[in-house]
Symmetry: C2
Subunit: 487 residues, 2 copies
Amino acid sequence: MAEEWATFGADLHLDLRDAGQGTGLRAALMDALREAVRSGRLSAGVRLPSSRTLAADLGIARNTVADAYAELVAEGWLTARQGSGTRVAQRSVPRRRTGSGGPGGQGRPGGARQGAAAARRARARPTYDLKPGMPDLGSFPRAEWLKASRRALTAAPNEAFGYGDPRGRIELRTVLAEYLARARGVYARPERIVICSGFVHGLSLMGQVLRARRVREVAVEAYGLEEHWRLLTRSGLRLPALPYDELGTRTDGLPGMKGVGAVLMTAAHQFPLGGALHPDRRVAAIDWARASGGLVLEDDYDGEFRYDRQPVGALQGLDPERVVYLGTSSKSLAPGLRLGWMVLPESLVDEVVELKGHMDWTGSALDQLTFAEFLESGAYDRHVRAMRLRYRRRRDELVAAVAAHSPQTRVSGIAAGLHAVLELPAGQEPEALRSAAWQGLAVLGLNRFRHPDTAPAQDGLVVGYATPPDSAWSGALAALCRVLPAP
Amino acid sequence: MAEEWATFGADLHLDLRDAGQGTGLRAALMDALREAVRSGRLSAGVRLPSSRTLAADLGIARNTVADAYAELVAEGWLTARQGSGTRVAQRSVPRRRTGSGGPGGQGRPGGARQGAAAARRARARPTYDLKPGMPDLGSFPRAEWLKASRRALTAAPNEAFGYGDPRGRIELRTVLAEYLARARGVYARPERIVICSGFVHGLSLMGQVLRARRVREVAVEAYGLEEHWRLLTRSGLRLPALPYDELGTRTDGLPGMKGVGAVLMTAAHQFPLGGALHPDRRVAAIDWARASGGLVLEDDYDGEFRYDRQPVGALQGLDPERVVYLGTSSKSLAPGLRLGWMVLPESLVDEVVELKGHMDWTGSALDQLTFAEFLESGAYDRHVRAMRLRYRRRRDELVAAVAAHSPQTRVSGIAAGLHAVLELPAGQEPEALRSAAWQGLAVLGLNRFRHPDTAPAQDGLVVGYATPPDSAWSGALAALCRVLPAP
C-alpha cells in the first residue's frame, strides 16, 4: 500500500517519494521532470499540464510547480510561450543520435525509438492504482485539521509536552469512548482504551500478549491480509483458517478447534470479500469465547463507510470482556497520521500497557490532542459524511462501468468500504492480472488474500476505488473494463 | 519522569493528569479544586491565586481557569468579591465536625486538624520536582511550532498522508542529516537515518537486532538508567558494566571482555555523572569496535546543551560504520513529541527497517514534516539557544545557592545538560533523600543509577534543574539547600 502514483494523462509518472532526496519538493519535482525528459518519457515539444492542474494532481502548492517550471525553463529543459503553455524544449542533438534534431525532431526515428523505450518503462510502472486499502489522500481535510491543531496546541496543559500515559492522552480517550459508543456501538470506557500507531501496532501488541499467555493458535478468516498473518506468526503463533460460506466466516467451527485461544475477524465488513458476518455467527463467536476463555480480535478497519444499509455495529458491544476492538483513522482520515486505538477487556489493560511502555511509550501527544479536538468539534463526523458520499459515487460509477462493458461480471462486497470484488470465471485471474499490468493498472487478485489452508473457490480482482485522484479515475475505470471479459 | 506537578505557593497541588477523566481541562481543574476544598488542603477563606497566575503556572489558558473559578462560585465552593479576589467559601458545617463553622472558622481547632491532615497529604505528594530527565515543558515554543505545522500541512504532497517509508519522511531525514552534521559532527546521510518515537524505541529495536545477530552481551556504563538496562535484558542480553574513572568510562577494558558485542554509552555527557569521555577513551571504544566487529550505541541525549566549553562532537563521527547514533527531541523540545532518530551503519539499515516495519511502520507524517520545517527555518536553533541561556542561568543559581548554604558540598557534572550531581559525604544519601521527601522535594539519589556490578563509590543527589516552573524554582532551591549538610 506504500506506493502512491501521481499521474497526468497516461504519460508522466512523478514519484516524489523516490525523487525527494534533495532539499524539498520543488527540487524533487525538477529532478523528476528532468529525468522524464532525459529518458524520453516526455519527448520534445510535448505540452505539460498547467501548473494549477499538476499541483492539484500531486497535492502540492501551485507555486512549487510554477517555480519548478520556471527554473527548468531557465535551465533550458522547458520552453514557455504565451498562449502555447509550457512545453518540453527541442534539445540539441545528443552525440549518440543520428537524426537531424532541432525543431521538428519530434516523431522522427530517434524520437520513435525513445518512445518505445518510454513505453517499456511505462509498463514497468503502473499508471493507475486500484489496489485496495488506501483512502483518498487528496481529500485529507488540511484546513480543518490545522484549525483543530491550533486549538489543541493553545489549550494543551504544559504536562502534555512531557512523557505521557502509555495509554495515550486522556482527552482523546475520553472523546473516543463517546464516539465509538455512538458510531460503532462499542462499549468503551476511557481507561480501557489504548492509543496505538495503527492496526499493525495493536495487533503486534496482542500477538505478544497472547504468546505471553501461552496461547499457541489464533484462528483467522479464509481470506485476509498476509501482512497481518505474518505479524502473528512472527510472535510464534499458528494460524488455522476458518471456512467461509454465505453467512460469512464459520465461527460455529471454533468449538471444534482445540488449542485455539483467539480469533482474528473483520466482522462488520469482511476483508476483502466484503460481507457482514451473520448475526448467528456473531453470537457463535462470542459464545465460543465465553465458553473457552478465548478472545475475539475485531479488526474494524472501515466501519464508518456503509452505503446501502444500516451500519453494522461492532461485535465488541456483545461482550466487551471477550473482544479486543481495534480501530484506526487510516481509512477514515489518513494512514499518515498513525493513529489507532484498542478497546480492551479490563483484564488485559495492564498487560498491554506494560508491554507498550517497554517499546515506545506512546505516540505524539499533539496529534492525539488535535484528533481529540477534531472529533469533539464534529469535524470528524462531517469529514466521514463527505467521504461516504464521495466513495459511494465512486462505487456507483464502478458498478455502472462494469455493467456496461462486461455485464456478465458480478461485482460483490459493495455495500460498504473502499473496495469491491469483481468476480471472474474460474482460471481467468492470472490472465486478468497480466492484462492489467500491461495496461499500467495496479490491481490485486482475490487469491492473493486466500489463506493457504483454504481451497481456491473464486477467481476475481480486488479493486480499491478510493485511491485514484479525480483526474485519473475515468482512465482507471476504462483500463479496468478492458481487463474484464467482453460481453 | 512521567509525573508533572503544578504548584502554587506550597499549598495546592493539581494533578491534571489524574483528574482529567471528565471532559477537558476545565472540568479536571474544577474536580481538583473541589477535591482540595473537600479534603481540607484548601481551607475556608483561603485566597486563591489570580486566574492569570494559576493559568501561567499550569500552562493552560487563562479563560479555562476563570471559567472554572466562575462555575465553582456558582456551585458555592468559592466566593468572589471585588477587591478581595477568589477565596474558598465558608461552607456549612459538615455533620462530623464539632466546631461552630461559619465565618471565622478558619484557624479553629477543626481547621487545625484539617491542616494537619493536609500537611500529611502534602508530604505524600512532592511539592517540588527536581528529578532529572525532563526539560522545561512550559517553554515549549507553541507559536513557532504551530507556524511550522501550518507550513508543513500546506506544503505536504498528498502521498504524505499515506503509509510512509518505515525510515520516516525524507524531508525530515534530509534536514536532520544536515543539522546533525553541523551541530553534532555526525556523519549522517538521509538514507541511513531512521526516525523513531524516542530513545526507548530506538534502543528496543537495537536490542532485537543484536539478539538476532546472536550477540549475548552488551557492555554498559557503571552509572546509567535502569529503564534502559531493563529494556535490553528483556531482549535476552546480559549487561556487564565498564568501570568509571576520572577519564570517564574505561572503554580500554572492552578488549578484555570476551563475548561483548556492543557497548551502550553516553559519550558526550555521561548520564548521570556528567563528564565527557576522554579522547583516548573515545578512540579506545572505536578501536575495540573495529577490531572485534562490535558496535557502539551512542546515546546523545542532551548534546545540544553545553555551557562552559566547546560542544563535544558525537563519537559517531569517528566511525559511522561502527557507531549507532541515537538522538531525540525529548530534551531539546519536549518528550511529548515522541520524535527520535537513529543514524545507522550502512550494514544495519535494512535489518532495522524491516524490524521496525513489523511493529508500527512509522510515526506521524505530519509531526515529522512539522519538525523538518521547524529545523529548516532556524526555529530549532533559536529555541535551543534560548533554552541554553535559560538552563545555564538555572545552573548558575543552583551552584550559587549550594555554595551559600552548604559550601562543603561539591557540585559536579555542571558543564552541560539539564542536571547536576551534588556530592554528599559517605553514607549520607539515604538521610538526604528522607529529608527531601519530608520537604516535599522529589530528587533522586546517585546510587539509584549505579549498575549492580559497580561498588558504591560516591553518595550524592542527582538534581534536574530544568523542570520546575519559574514560580516554584526559588522554593525548590531553598528546599534543596535545607537537605544539604549545613556548614
